[in-house]
Symmetry: C2
Subunit: 525 residues, 2 copies
């Protein structure tokens, strides 16, 4: 007995059926006495769902199909029950996956039947199950559901985002959130290494632990960022000269191999806009041409010696893209780090292979600064991650004198260049937490009075980490977007193309909740 989806019919001799485990060939009876069964089998639409009873037999010699896991057998159909039929689809199912992603998302219920979505979602489920076994059964963790309806508080990570979607972002996403008491950073990092090693899918090789570890300083220095301040020491470009003489002022560059060859001018505009809106910084995109020529608005202000030195220091070649930014190093470094990842995404969107998806490199980054200058008010500090990260014990006294020098007990986990998790040892001392909120961050501590009271009630030392599950799974399976590892994702614009959400809710249905939609155009009228 086979319950299966009807895939197609070949020359009125066979039908191919499919379930999640694969395909099977069903032999259509050719005997006139079974005419009715033959007609029924041949007239079905693809993706209909049927129940076939029959006898399994070995295929005749020479008709085996080695590319099919059931290629040595076939089922001789004896009866058929049609459980549901499929309408005539507006596309060929075999081309479906190659079609636009919008089509796949509109017909998600069909897309989910594809072997690659079946693999991704089943692998994800198994990975999560193994993680739960490791945490709950092997390490005594308690699975606690926390409320989503909660007080509005500053700076606490949400699993709903109000920013635009990107290939590795979704308005809703899933984190593996781990909190532990009586723990230090090394303990949490060792737990996570063990967790990933234990839960890693068998068909993706093994994870070797411990993971290498870099400090934030090292990561910023080593990973493609080149300090070219010296090169511009005598520049006639006024704003660069102004920047360099400031304390912390610098000119930094990264080289994007083949960036000039593959990225379009709208990509450059996008990078510049990220720099402006997220970092309040300008960035120059220099296209490196044949014989070391440079195309950039600044090109005519850069003398040959400077240009050659710049190319030499960044090892840039024809076809590469140089991103150059001048400013405070605390802002320029994270900016260029971010743009580097954006370039990798943009190149992959253009079909350029940036990293080998079958090799997995884990890396811890530690010793982050606890605070960074605020974008629009650089004399004011903000949390580099969130206001609950504990300072490194050696730096705790600097909180009261030179807070910008304090390093935090924060650790980021990076897989193949993408941040897949981050965590920290949290502050457990109420007085220290209050000082940071009130005196350093200038936040209103009354919004967090429940937290301060909890700390003041004998909270144990504690820490935690959150792993971005969607991103982790998408890297494991080599998906180009986290949408391929989420059953019902939103489009880049945050739309659900299957149900056509978001959709209008009539005002009278919002009234019982005492809310009202303020359309942007209402303001303009």
């Amino acid at each position: 007995m086979v319950f299966l989806l009807y895939l197609n019919c070949r020359q009125d001799l066979f039908v191919i059926l499919r379930d999640f485990s694969g395909l099977v060939q069903v032999l259509i009876p050719q005997d006139e006495s079974q005419r009715e069964l033959k007609d029924a089998l041949c007239s079905l639409t693809v993706e209909s769902v049927i129940k076939v009873k029959g006898r399994v037999k070995l295929r005749p010699e020479g008709q085996q199909n080695k590319n099919m896991s059931t290629g040595e057998i076939e089922v001789c159909a004896e009866s058929l029950e049609v459980l549901n039929t499929c309408r005539k689809l507006p596309f060929e199912i075999k081309d479906f996956v190659k079609k636009s992603e919008a089509l796949r998302m509109q017909y998600r219920y069909l897309d989910l039947r594809s072997s690659h979505m079946q693999y991704n979602l089943r692998m994800r489920s198994q990975l999560v199950m193994k993680m739960r076994e490791y945490l709950c059964n092997m390490h005594g963790f308690v699975d606690v559901e926390t409320p989503t309806l909660f007080k509005r508080t500053p700076g606490i990570a949400r699993c709903y985002r109000d920013e635009g979607s990107k290939p590795d972002r979704q308005p809703e996403f899933t984190q593996v959130d781990i909190e532990m008491s009586f723990v230090d950073a090394a303990g949490i990092m060792a737990l996570i290494e063990g967790l990933l090693q234990y839960s890693w899918p068998e068909d993706k090789g093994t994870v070797s632990i411990p993971f290498p570890c870099l400090t934030y300083e090292e990561a910023m220095k080593d990973y493609g960022l080149v300090d070219v301040s010296e090169t511009f020491q005598h520049t006639q470009i006024e704003f660069i000269r102004d920047v360099i003489v400031q304390p912390g002022g610098c000119v930094q560059a990264i080289c994007v191999p083949d960036g000039a060859k593959h990225l379009k001018s709208k990509d450059m505009e996008y990078l510049k806009q990220v720099a402006r809106t997220q970092f309040n910084q300008e960035v120059d995109c220099m296209l490196v041409r044949a014989e070391g020529a440079i195309k950039s608005p600044l090109a005519r202000l850069i003398p040959d010696t400077t240009r050659l030195q710049l190319l030499l220091k960044t090892s840039a070649n024809a076809g590469d893209l140089l991103l150059v930014a001048a400013g405070d190093q605390e802002r320029v470094r994270p900016l260029l780090g971010k743009l580097r990842l954006h370039c990798a995404e943009l190149l992959e969107d253009r079909g350029v292979f940036v990293c080998d998806p079958s090799v997995f490199h884990f890396l811890w980054v530690v010793d982050f600064p606890l605070f960074l200058p605020k974008e629009n008010e650089p004399e004011q500090l903000e949390s580099a991650h969130h206001p609950f990260t504990a300072p490194m014990p050696d730096d705790a006294n600097l909180l009261y004198t030179q807070p910008h020098k304090v390093r935090g007990q924060h650790y980021d986990l990076v897989l193949n260049g993408c941040e897949i998790g981050g965590g920290s040892v949290r502050i457990h001392n109420a007085a220290q937490q209050l000082y940071i909120l009130q005196n350093i961050l200038k936040e209103d501590p009354s919004l967090l009075s429940h937290l301060l009271e909890a700390l003041d009630s004998g909270a144990p030392p504690h820490g935690g980490i959150a792993l971005g599950l969607d991103r982790l799974v998408s890297i494991i399976v080599g998906a180009s977007s986290i949408r391929d590892v989420i059953a019902f994702p939103k489009s880049l614009k945050g739309h659900d193309l299957m149900s056509h959400a978001p959709s209008l809710v009539p005002e009278e249905e919002l009234r019982p909740y005492h809310i009202s939609v303020l359309w942007p155009q209402d303001k303009d009228r």
Copy 2:
């Protein structure tokens, strides 16, 4: 080495420390050379968290404490590290659990340290883990996360409720949602029986399967509902006479033992209000007094023979409460069934023991009507559960002729009289689903076009069930409220007493989301 919470200090000789596994006694050194350690241990506030190093030794003969799992040993303290201190608490910690629930919820972080909350939440986590093992590892289920940001659709169960809280309700709650293809009701019910048997906590006995099964008709007839239409056949009460002569019209009663003794007049008002607002029905609350006297607004209209017959039929005794309702049986039966559960809750709120919390009785209820008359328009039908429940195969043809007679493939799971789950075989035929939405329920099918299209694309026969996890766990542990099995619950009014949520969000922070709060008083101004 012991990392523990400081509980109290006895006569400067011992301190009692606690962690999640229990208590341990620490001996305070009395030697003058260790004066500093003694002073530090004696001056700590309760619920502070400390790290004690010391030697574990057997207690002297005669000083063992058999009521303490570590009562045969004690720890001779050699050093102390104070990890965090607890402020002076505004209450005695030993009385804390006996204090008002509001206090427990305000200081939830302390309440969560109590042995009963530790037991409840750890048991819940283990139960869920066993359920996952059963489903994913033993039965090949795939754990799929579904979006919470989705299209507004009619009649689909949410895990956010917009109704008032009750002891067994919360604005957010957790369901175990199971969906299966190629399955019938018997298959789902057998799976759930196996699931509960496998995951049942060891210390709560064993679950025997299969569970007994009643039809909706039987459940309504057998479970305390008494038809007293005949008793009122010649009544002079006009509206009852009018009701009885209607087709389906009846007078039904339930007897609440000791209800008159323990329930207050505000409880009766609450029951009447539920009847009015949720069922558009009147209910009479008759208090049975000594010698069979009845206190009720209708009492003077009820002759002695009627009164005695009523008491006889319902087996009511002095101190009992009789709930009597006249109307269509399709409305009166669910109404009285609901009020019966409300009475049980109200009695338990008043400290009256209604059922034995250590005995577990499971029951399936099946053969529900697919549709019920709409409350305010009885000539119009609405779904008894939701619009996606499939009709019983034998009744499918009645859809087109006598839809009110169609039974649904719905099953409810009841534990100790409380509904803990419900599910159904779903409709998989698009034409049948469209007919029900459009012709029977008069819903706009365009809101569900994505569902209809999915069914029309060869959706397999499928069904599912949702278990109310909070309620299930609360019955297992014998908690009087689901708040005792939720880490951070809301109060009866939906407030978070710990963080003081909901709280005001300034209009300017809502503006980017294009929403605005419409205060009810704005309408009245």
